[in-house]
């Protein structure tokens, strides 16, 4: 009775491999029928897609013979106890009754005999990814794209160019869409590129390593190249991992424009690592951000490298409102209409908005000192601050205008061109 059902479920799963409840049901039936190996296979597939799925974890625990959770409601039956530990026998691996249930991966690895290499070599704490003397901070951002206010267009582009292919491996395989290559976030300074990169890492439930040029560049011959190699090695070990190169224009600047031999070597090494010629970059997602995309070496923009670009524009109205609220939330305020302020701050970057709130706070503070009585920040303070701040992205837009006016019209800056046209700057 069960076997035909299992076969039928297997066919259904083969037709729709991302249907997790179906897979779980199949795994349960396999487990009930005693086919543990097959059940583990199905459960592993479920956990690869949804590592936090509790049902899958419990079933995996059952499949591996690990007590996943004590079942208090289930009465201790008088069944054959020969193969089961006595109820009173203390079990070292058993979780405390009120402890949160977690799948014991170590036990599973032990049972399966998988020799998992340590994520990090040396005496490096859990917060670092590194090899030898190279250490890079590994974060696990909890931020997701849902936490990023506004920026609908950038999020949409990220979804289309990066997240959708990643979340749908079957479709990706069907369309032969490769995951090779990185993503370049570009836009005016102070508009949240780094924040967005962090959110993307959180969305992918991946580790996040932010790389600064100071972590890499060294005057000593060959050291910078080695640092780049070690960085990628660390990321491969910590996969899934997002490697984020901030200010990539500094590290990956046009080789024709630099005399610094260390820098040239670094770019060459970066190209080698991005190509993954010697190592597999599976599970390593390379992101980069720059305010000056025109300074990035064209070789870095070729297919398989930073071939996807996302323009991160100054915050839109909802985002501006969210940013203003964020910067005002821990200050004494009264009668603030953030919506009205957001309307009046078109073209302001996140950093400009932060400065506006700083100025308003300064106004209120000075007025309090002069009046001898503390008063909250009011709408008038913020409005006068807005009037006194000019958007800082003007020079950037001027250069961007030259970039799209004189540069090759190969579609790389199509988003930027559309934005400048809409803003009446082209």
């Amino acid at each position: 009775m069960t076997q035909p059902l299992i076969e039928s479920l297997r066919r259904a799963v083969a037709a729709n491999p991302t249907d997790l409840p179906l897979r779980l049901h199949l795994a349960e039936l396999l487990l009930d029928s005693g086919d543990q190996a097959a059940a583990i296979g199905e459960l592993a597939a479920v956990l690869a897609i949804a590592p936090a799925d509790q049902a899958a974890q419990q079933l995996m625990g059952r499949a591996l013979g690990t007590p996943a959770e004590p079942a208090p409601s289930e009465p201790a039956g008088p069944g054959p106890a020969a193969s089961e530990p006595a109820a009173s026998e203390p079990a070292a691996s058993e979780p405390a009754p009120d402890a949160p249930t977690r799948f014991d991966w170590s036990a599973a690895e032990e049972q399966l005999g998988i020799d998992v290499p340590p994520m990090f070599v040396g005496d490096i704490g859990p917060g670092n990814a590194g090899i030898g003397d190279a250490v890079f901070d590994l974060e696990r951002p909890r931020l997701t794209l849902a936490d990023v206010g506004g920026m609908a267009q950038a999020k949409q582009r990220l979804e289309a160019s990066f997240l959708a292919p990643l979340r749908n491996p079957e479709l990706r395989r069907m369309y032969r869409k490769s995951l090779r290559g990185g993503l370049l976030l570009y836009g005016p300074p102070g508009c949240g590129k780094t924040y967005l990169a962090r959110a993307l890492a959180g969305e992918l439930q991946a580790g996040f390593v932010s790389v600064q040029i100071t972590d890499i560049l060294d005057q000593m011959l060959g050291t910078s190249e080695r640092n780049v190699h070690e960085l990628f090695q660390a990321a491969r070990r910590a996969a899934p991992c997002v490697l984020f190169f901030d200010e990539v224009d500094a590290l990956g600047q046009r080789r024709s424009q630099t005399r610094n031999s260390a820098l040239r070597g670094t770019i060459n090494q970066l190209l080698t690592e991005l190509d993954g010629a010697e190592q597999d970059n599976d599970g390593v997602f390379v992101l980069a951000a720059t305010n000056q995309p025109w300074d990035v070496d064209p070789a870095l923009r070729r297919p398989g490298r930073f071939d996807r670009t996302v323009l991160v524009l100054p915050p839109d109205e909802p985002a501006r409102e969210a940013i203003l609220r964020h910067h005002l939330q821990h200050r004494p305020i009264a009668g603030i209409d953030t919506g009205r302020l957001a309307k009046r701050t078109e073209g302001f970057s996140g950093a400009d908005l932060a400065y506006v709130t700083e100025l308003a706070a300064e106004n209120a503070l000075l007025a309090s000192v002069a009046g001898g009585e503390a008063r909250p920040i009011g709408m008038a303070d913020l409005e006068s601050a807005v009037a006194g701040v000019r958007p800082s992205i003007g020079p950037w837009l001027e250069t961007a205008r030259n970039l799209v006016s004189f540069g090759e019209d190969d579609g790389t800056y199509a988003e930027l061109r559309a934005y400048l046209k809409k803003a009446g700057r082209l």
Binding site: Q219, E247, N260, A262, W294, E398, N402, F406
Partner: protein, 340 residues
């Protein structure tokens, strides 16, 4: 990371990211304020960060700590130059030569300071040439020789120097831009246009490109202005011929602009009304004048020559040409704020 001294780390970073170099040097200088090398690097980083006032401060302190080195003096020169203190920059550049005459950079700075002060003379050219003699493989020395020569009216030498720099570094946007400027001075508008457009592609941060493209458009409009003026003078005698001449001139100008400048030039043209209103006014006046001449040509078609010499259309066309000339004068008196 490997154990690195902050000064060495800053040396590695300074070209790629002055901000990063400064992040390394800042804390170091609080503990080692008398390290003149670190102070020089900090000054250099501040120059890169467009903060010449701070650069000057660091360079002065470095110079006090090591008065025998030309490095802090050169940095002071650059800071003064960027601050617009032309006299100080010129004085200090000469002082740096006295300290280290074997260093090509000191001679280069003399020419550079003179260029910034707009007081180029044969001494500046000699300094630039000396610098090139000491470092012939540095494209920068050729560029400065070219810039000084161009300011002295030695256009041929300037072009040769820029071309040599470009042979050494084909992607050098400054050399490309300066060569285009030299070509424009020589009246080679087409080559100049190509050069400016190439500069814009190579380095969009060079703001003067747009202003120079406006100058090229102005040159073309000037040529058209002469043709329309000729048409105005001719029209009393042969209206249709004058009209045909004007139409042909406009068609030729548009065809040239479309073929040579392509889309980038069209984009620049689209920005002219807002960025350079006097140029736009000139073009509109010229267009109006041309239209009147064409209209007059059509109206006098088939009539014997010289029968309508005092046509009001010709007078109006002349008047519009004067309006255009006034726009040019105003444009020269108050240069547009394009790409500054």
């Amino acid at each position: 990371m490997t154990d690195r001294s902050p000064v060495r780390q800053a040396e590695a970073l300074i070209e790629a990211s002055p901000a990063a170099a400064m992040r390394v040097l800042g804390p170091y200088l609080t503990t080692e304020p008398d390290d003149w090398r670190a102070l020089c690097l900090a000054a250099q980083a501040q120059v890169g960060l467009d903060d010449p006032a701070r650069a000057l401060d660091y360079a002065r302190r470095a110079s006090q700590l090591n008065p025998h080195s030309d490095w802090p003096v050169r940095l002071q020169t650059i800071a003064h130059r960027d601050l617009g203190h032309s006299y100080d920059a010129q004085q200090l550049s000469r002082q740096s030569v006295l300290i280290n005459p074997a260093n090509w950079q000191t001679h280069l700075l003399v020419a550079n300071a003179d260029l910034a002060a707009r007081s180029v003379n044969h001494h500046s050219l000699a300094a630039a040439r000396k610098s090139r003699e000491l470092a012939p493989a540095e494209p920068e020395t050729h560029i400065v020789v070219g810039q000084v020569a161009l300011d002295l009216g030695l256009k041929k030498e300037a072009v040769q120097a820029f071309e040599r720099a470009l042979q050494m570094a084909p992607d050098n946007a400054v050399a490309r831009h300066e060569l285009a400027r030299a070509q424009l001075r020589r009246g080679r508008v087409g080559r100049a246009l190509d050069g400016f457009l190439a500069t814009g592609r190579l380095d969009p941060t060079i703001r003067q490109v747009r202003a120079n493209l406006h100058n090229i458009i102005a040159r073309v409009i000037q040529l058209l202005h002469y043709v329309v003026l000729a048409g105005c003078l001719l029209s009393p005698f042969d209206g249709p011929l004058a009209g045909a001449l004007v139409v042909l001139a406009w068609l030729a100008a548009l065809a040239w602009a479309g073929k040579r400048g392509g889309r980038p030039l069209l984009r620049v043209l689209a920005g002219v009304p807002r960025a350079d209103p006097m140029l736009f006014g000139w073009a509109v006046a010229l267009l109006g004048s041309s239209a009147l001449l064409v209209l007059r040509g059509v109206l006098t078609l088939g009539k014997p020559a010289g029968t309508s010499a005092a046509s009001p259309l010709s007078g109006l066309a002349f008047l519009l040409l004067f309006v255009g000339a006034a726009c040019t004068w105003l444009r020269r008196a108050r240069p547009p704020r394009v790409g500054r």
